[in-house]
């Protein structure tokens, strides 16, 4: 089959690889009908994710049709149309039972690698390094889905692939980011980063009762999307001083909650952002937490800073003193996908939200290498790339 493979930093190739096969009793094989490039795939593209190997199949946002099931998988039937969550969960360990699905104990065959870095391992992930299991991803014609009696969500034929595809990651991720803000009616939420997760975080904050959402970015097309589709007030950090503006917009009190939908490759124009850039380029630091520093600084006393953006290593100049002084709550982590997918499908079915609004590029698998570059450089007003393997 055809698959999008990693061959090194900024080296993505479309290769022919063996078709996946059932390996375990609860597996299923999915014929992929739609798959997307995620902002977190760009961290791999940029060479920031350790334990990637040449030839690894990329992609963790995908959906399709069930074409084969393992003997213990009694939930899925051939022909079912499903969206697959990017986190893999067994459904029976302590963490799955506690609804902490992205922390599943039993789905990462290489848990010992993550344990060496983090103490304990999160769940296995599709197409996201060997430290997270080495599972081939979904940017391919077919994908093997482990524990497929727990993860994949059946979707009705009345909804298109483009409407439901983002249930695989970014819609639940934006939603959990907003839920972590513990929004009460009348709250103001500030969102750093108006990429796909930021857009869903904005819309989810409104769904959960926020009165105002203030969105921060520098790309005009993303800011206008946040303003027009997501109904946020927007700030271009290249033209305004964000902390000053947020203070002024909130009567001097600060936003009730702040969301960092940027993560470890934050860009900024202030001194600390250049400092991060210098240190990471010399391998003296792993992550560039400029947006996170600003969010912690801007958040009101007793507020919540929610972090859906991905971090991987050791942060430099992390303002824990400010977080402590203001009694902030910090919430973060990979999305507990299985907890949110059914309820978000209902929101889509009811017409509360149509997630397809963020799609800017519709291509085939063959276009992947070029699209990774376009997406990373944010050229051509690129916000979200969807690939259709069947059309290739």
């Amino acid at each position: 089959m055809k698959a999008v493979c990693y061959y090194g930093k900024e080296d993505i190739r479309v290769e022919t690889v063996p078709d996946p096969a059932i390996l375990n009793p609860r597996d299923a094989i999915i014929r992929v009908t739609a798959t997307a490039i995620c902002g977190s795939d760009l961290h791999i593209y940029g060479g920031y994710i350790p334990t990637m190997e040449k030839g690894d199949v990329l992609g963790h946002e995908f959906m399709g049709e069930v074409v084969e099931v393992g003997r213990e998988n009694t939930k899925l039937k051939l022909g079912d149309r499903v969206v697959v969550p990017f986190t893999i969960a067994c459904g029976h360990c302590y963490f799955c039972k506690e609804q902490l699905w992205s922390l599943c104990d039993n789905s990462n065959p290489n848990a010992w690698m993550a344990e060496q870095v983090y103490g304990y391992s999160g769940s296995g992930l599709f197409g996201y390094s060997h430290m997270y299991g080495g599972y081939p991803g979904g940017q391919a014609e077919y994908a093997r889905v482990p524990f497929a009696d727990v993860g994949p969500l059946r979707v009705p034929d009345s909804l298109t692939d483009e409407q439901v595809l983002f249930l695989s990651d970014i819609f639940p991720t934006g939603y959990m980011a907003a839920e972590n803000c513990q929004i009460t009616p009348g709250d103001t939420v500030a969102v750093w980063g108006c990429g796909p997760v930021g857009q869903f975080a904005i819309q989810s904050a409104f769904l959960l009762g926020a009165e105002r959402v203030i969105a921060i970015d520098r790309f005009p097309e993303r800011l206008s999307l946040a303003a027009s589709f997501s109904k946020a007030e927007v700030l271009d950090y290249e033209s305004v001083d964000v902390p000053d503006a947020l203070r002024e917009m909130t009567g001097g009190q600060g936003p009730d909650a702040c969301i960092d939908a940027v993560g470890l490759e934050s860009h900024g124009t202030t001194l600390d952002a250049w400092y991060d850039r210098a240190k990471t380029s010399l391998y003296l630091a792993t992550d560039r937490p400029h947006a996170l520093r600003q969010a912690i600084g801007a958040c009101r006393k007793g507020g919540t800073v929610s972090i859906p953006g991905v971090y991987g290593g050791w942060l430099d100049k992390f303002p824990l003193g400010a977080a402590f002084a203001k009694g902030l709550t910090l919430k973060m982590g990979q999305t507990h996908m299985h907890r949110y997918m059914p309820r978000l499908l209902q929101h889509i079915e009811r017409g509360d939200i149509d997630p397809s609004f963020i799609i800017t590029h519709r291509v085939t698998l063959d276009d992947a290498p070029e699209m990774y570059r376009t997406f990373r450089e944010k050229e051509d007003a690129c916000v979200k790339v969807v690939m259709r393997p069947a059309a290739a």
């Binding site: 009793p25 080495g134 599972y135």
Partner: protein
């Protein structure tokens, strides 16, 4: 101190007390000695090993029969004896976990180096592991202590190629909803033919190996399968 149960002698509370004390003292001395990371420290730890052995198995090493170096107890009583302690918690009832382990034929399902375990009756069993160049390495073991639902302890039988002893304890956790499985494995360290075989059978980092075995046990009993992945490009 999970090992106290190894020494439980249901019929004799005085012996029980003695063994408790023996385990506590020998473990403390060995831990202190090893923590010194010095030659005297190791000697001190080694000196405490026979007491630990007696406390765990109820017999002094090297006594009781005429066999010399092939004797499990001798092989494990010197400074060459290596201890591995690992533990895992799983969301299954204690009785179920115990029953799975007690059926020794199940062990190769999650112990990667084992090919088979055959119960011979009378608490004895034959173990076959993958040795050098995939050649099987075989030894016989006997259960030396067993408390239904709580503890299984075993050692290799004198004259085996492999000198090893171990125990597994099952304790309730989280108000009985979970089970904690604690393994204590002991075997002779590299040196001589036995040592070479052991290094090849057990790998270079025995603690890592046992930890991964226990992880597979948890995966098997909780999720019903052990997760696997193959790479796309060379599957």
């Amino acid at each position: 101190m999970p090992d106290h149960a190894l020494a439980l002698d249901m019929s004799d509370s005085a012996a029980e007390l003695e063994r408790w004390a023996g385990v506590a003292i020998s473990t403390a001395v060995m831990a202190y000695g090893l923590s010194r990371r010095s030659v005297p420290g190791v000697v001190l730890a080694a000196a405490a090993a026979p007491l630990a052995y007696r406390s765990l198995t109820g017999e002094w090493p090297g006594l009781g029969n005429g066999l010399a170096h092939a004797d499990t107890r001798v092989a494990l009583s010197r400074s060459r004896g290596i201890h591995v302690r690992e533990t895992v918690r799983l969301e299954r009832p204690r009785a179920e976990v115990y029953a799975f382990w007690r059926r020794l034929e199940n062990l190769p399902q999650f112990m990667e180096h084992l090919q088979s375990v055959t119960e011979l009756g009378g608490g004895r069993s034959q173990w076959v592991a993958t040795g050098p160049a995939d050649a099987p390495v075989t030894w016989d073991a006997e259960i030396v202590n067993e408390i239904e639902g709580e503890v299984i302890a075993w050692k290799s039988i004198a004259g085996s190629d492999i000198a090893t002893a171990g125990s597994v304890r099952f304790s309730p956790a989280r108000q009985g909803r979970s089970t904690q499985v604690s393994v204590h494995l002991q075997y002779a360290a590299p040196g001589g033919r036995v040592g070479r075989l052991l290094a090849l059978v057990f790998g270079r980092d025995p603690a890592h190996m046992v930890r991964e075995d226990l992880r597979r046990l948890k995966q098997l009993l909780e999720a019903g399968e052990i997760p696997r992945a193959t790479r796309g490009a060379d599957a």
